[in-house]
């Protein structure tokens, strides 16, 4: 089932085009890696999808609902971490989750406790977020993102600040979620992680979409046995050999 469909997305600020001709889709169960150099337009695309910034041209459909016309229905089953997780520092982790849960129907204490267990914050959930490490804040952000049983999850640098164990747990969580049919869009500079968890790649260069393919096909851009990093450098990072 098609969860996300972006068609000819364009964002222009004054006379500067930030992104244009961005078209791709994501189906249930897909784990799509959004890659590109710094300033390529990845975060802009994420913000366009989530309605945080206005679309200049094009459409975004989430579960068939237009993000501009039917925002509430479109965003209802979406979870997201954008740029870095932001929480209310003076509140406890639990209070932050309670506030998040209040935005949805039928998300109560049981679900809060469940996501706390999933992200491994049981021992610190009652403490103030200002006392958390970067990794704990990241886990809290993920907990908040999955609170409402999303059908579409957007994760911007999800392994940022996590230790090795945390990264492995994150990988397993992503796999588990995708096995349950959740569509996931991951934006990350950690290409080895992208390689391990994603089945598709959407590559952005200078605000334009340069690749939308499976991981294996994308790697073939460099050579038969190349790594994702090689393909990235060839297609996105420097001169395109093709």
């Amino acid at each position: 089932m098609e969860v996300l469909k972006c068609e000819n997305l364009k964002k222009k600020i004054k006379n500067k085009v930030i992104v244009e001709n961005i078209s791709f889709s994501i189906n249930s169960g897909d784990v799509v890696g959004l890659i590109g150099a710094n300033g390529a337009g990845k975060t802009t695309i994420i913000k366009l999808i989530l309605g945080l910034i206005k679309i200049t041209e094009g459409t975004v459909l989430i579960n068939g609902f237009d993000i501009q016309k039917d925002f509430v229905k479109a965003i209802d089953k979406v979870g997201a971490i954008v740029e870095s997780p932001a929480s209310y520092m003076y509140l406890s982790g639990y209070d932050n989750l309670k506030i998040a849960a209040n935005n949805f129907k039928n998300i109560g204490k049981e679900r809060i406790n469940e996501v706390v267990k999933i992200v491994g914050l049981e021992n610190r959930i009652k403490d103030k977020v200002s006392t958390y490490s970067l990794g704990m804040k990241q886990r809290l952000g993920i907990a908040e993102a999955i609170l409402n049983h999303p059908e579409f999850l957007i994760l911007d640098e999800p392994t940022n600040g996590l230790d090795v164990e945390g990264i492995i747990e994150m990988r397993e969580l992503i796999k588990k979620l995708s096995d349950n049919g959740i569509a996931i869009l991951i934006s990350s500079h950690n290409l080895s992680e992208i390689d391990k968890v994603c089945n598709r790649i959407v590559a952005i260069k200078n605000g334009k979409l340069v690749a939308d393919d499976t991981i294996d096909n994308f790697k073939l851009i460099a050579s038969k046995d190349s790594t994702l990093e090689d393909a990235f450098i060839k297609k996105v990072g420097g001169t395109d050999i093709d």
């Binding site: 965003i75 932001a86 209070d95 209040n102 935005n103 949805f104």
Partner: protein, 497 residues
């Protein structure tokens, strides 16, 4: 929406800074009550007449001098006044005669009956150009002697009864004008009150009430006679009616404390107690509540933007308009709770400093529609006041949210809003009372947002205002501010946070 409001309230009530503000409220209230600025601490005691100086001046005067008679009057009256001991009722009774209550176009001198008769006597005896008839002189002598006798008999009731009798006789005179008759009847009523409610001449709050009643009654008659209709006159008439009714009520009920709810004390012997401090709490601490309202509303959006939590908020299944409205409602609920807290603190602090006894008396007010005094439970009165102030809080909060949406500088927004509020409360309020500016001033929101100006049938200072008009103005401002804020917020791109 309820859940959104709940979220906003969690964010507000879990902040340490909110409790710091409540602590500041407690400190301000405690200090204010301890300093007790409303309590009058200076008492004026009239001095004895300096007879020697008056006589020396009189010796050098020419008989044809227009002040010749009045100078002699001062001497003779002064001798009579000085002959009684300090703190005697006689001194206070004569002191009352010596206090002027002149107003424009209305006679006020009938309470100065001793002086009036003494003037007739002196004028006849020493003024070469006197027009006094012998019969009038003999009558004045007889009356004056009766007064002196009553004073020397040390019976104030006899003295008052004599005044009433003499004043009543004057009302029957065929030459009396209608204004003079009105003035005489005012004095007769005042003296009858003394007898009926057993109020001797003294230096106390009951005599303050009588003096205040007398002066306000004369001022009222003068204003009614002038027949002007501008806002200053209307305000004066309203204030006089209120004071006359309350003063009479205080005398009838032997209330030995200040029953005015004005923030400024009007009586020399007012006793500020816990009750009156509680009644005046809105007037004293309104600016504190407004400052807190501005702080909470301005930080509501600004902090979300600065900390980045705004993107969490805007990626949830709510319209941006719902988010703004929930913030406004949560801020107003917080202000209501803060105000109730302020009332509670004032109740406790006032009780500790002044004693809790006075709380047994309720609020004593004046109904302008029925022209009668009424009593009301203190807390019911304060809740009514709070309800009347809600439109003001709504508009201030909406304005702050509006400013926060339009710009990212929360400190500047707070300062600007405080300055605007201060200017509107002082300068604009003063200008609004000028008749020529009324057609414009009636549309200012600050002249319409406090509905307590209509409580109990009051007429607002700007007399063209009515409650339905004020409701409309408030709705227009609220909808306009909210509409612009929602429109701007809905279109706003959220960039680097």
């Amino acid at each position: 929406m309820i859940k959104l409001i709940e979220n906003e309230l969690i964010k507000i009530f879990k902040k340490k800074s909110f409790y710091l503000l409540l602590l500041i409220i407690i400190i301000i209230i405690a200090l204010f009550n301890y300093a007790n600025p409303d309590q009058n601490k200076i008492f004026f005691r009239p001095l004895d007449f300096n007879i020697d100086a008056l006589e020396r001046a009189f010796e050098n005067m020419d008989k044809n001098d227009k002040f010749y008679v009045s100078q002699k009057l001062s001497i003779e009256f002064g001798k009579l006044y000085n002959s009684y001991s300090e703190n005697s009722w006689q001194k206070y009774a004569l002191g009352e005669e010596n206090t002027s209550h002149d107003v424009q176009d209305f006679p006020t001198n009938f309470y100065q009956d001793i002086k009036s008769n003494l003037t007739t006597i002196i004028d006849y005896e020493i003024n070469p150009n006197s027009n006094i008839q012998k019969s009038d002189y003999e009558e004045a002598q007889k009356i004056y002697k009766q007064y002196v006798q009553a004073l020397n008999n040390d019976d104030w009731k006899e003295f008052v009864a004599l005044k009433i009798k003499n004043l009543r006789q004057k009302t029957e005179s065929p030459s009396i004008t209608s204004d003079e008759k009105k003035s005489l009847n005012i004095e007769i009523e005042i003296y009858e009150y003394r007898l009926k409610y057993d109020i001797p001449f003294n230096d106390d709050i009951f005599n303050d009430y009588i003096s205040n009643w007398r002066s306000k009654q004369y001022l009222l008659e003068s204003c009614l006679k002038s027949n002007k209709s501008d806002s200053i006159y209307n305000k004066t008439i309203k204030n006089c009616k209120l004071n006359v009714a309350l003063n009479k009520y205080a005398l009838e009920n032997k209330i030995n404390y200040d029953i005015s709810d004005s923030a400024i004390t009007v009586l020399s012997h007012n006793k500020v107690d816990a009750r009156i401090s509680l009644i005046r709490s809105f007037k004293h601490f309104d600016i504190v509540i407004v400052a807190i309202a501005i702080y909470i509303a301005c930080t509501s959006i600004a902090e979300e933007k600065n900390k980045g939590t705004i993107k969490n908020l805007l990626t949830k299944p709510h319209k941006r308009s719902q988010i703004l409205i929930s913030k406004i409602l949560a801020c107003v609920i917080t202000i209501i709770i803060t105000t109730l807290f302020m009332i509670l603190v004032q109740y406790i602090v006032g009780g500790i400093i002044f004693g809790f006894d006075s709380y047994s008396i309720g609020y004593i007010g004046y109904n302008y529609t029925s022209n009668s005094v009424f009593t009301l439970n203190l807390f019911v009165y304060l809740l009514l006041l709070l309800l009347c102030k809600l439109p003001m809080y709504f508009i201030i909060v909406t304005f702050c949210i509006f400013m926060s949406v339009m710009n990212n500088h929360s400190v500047m927004t707070m300062i600007l809003t405080l300055i605007i509020f201060f200017i509107c409360s002082t300068v604009i309020a003063q200008w609004s009372e000028i008749s020529a500016l009324t057609p414009i001033a009636k549309y200012f929101i600050t002249n319409n947002w406090d509905f307590s100006i209509y409580l109990f049938g009051r007429i607002p200072d700007i007399n063209v205002l009515t409650l339905p008009f004020s409701v409309c103005i408030c709705l227009i401002y609220e909808i306009a501010l909210l509409g612009i804020a929602i429109r701007h917020f809905a279109k706003k791109d959220i960039y680097n946070i």
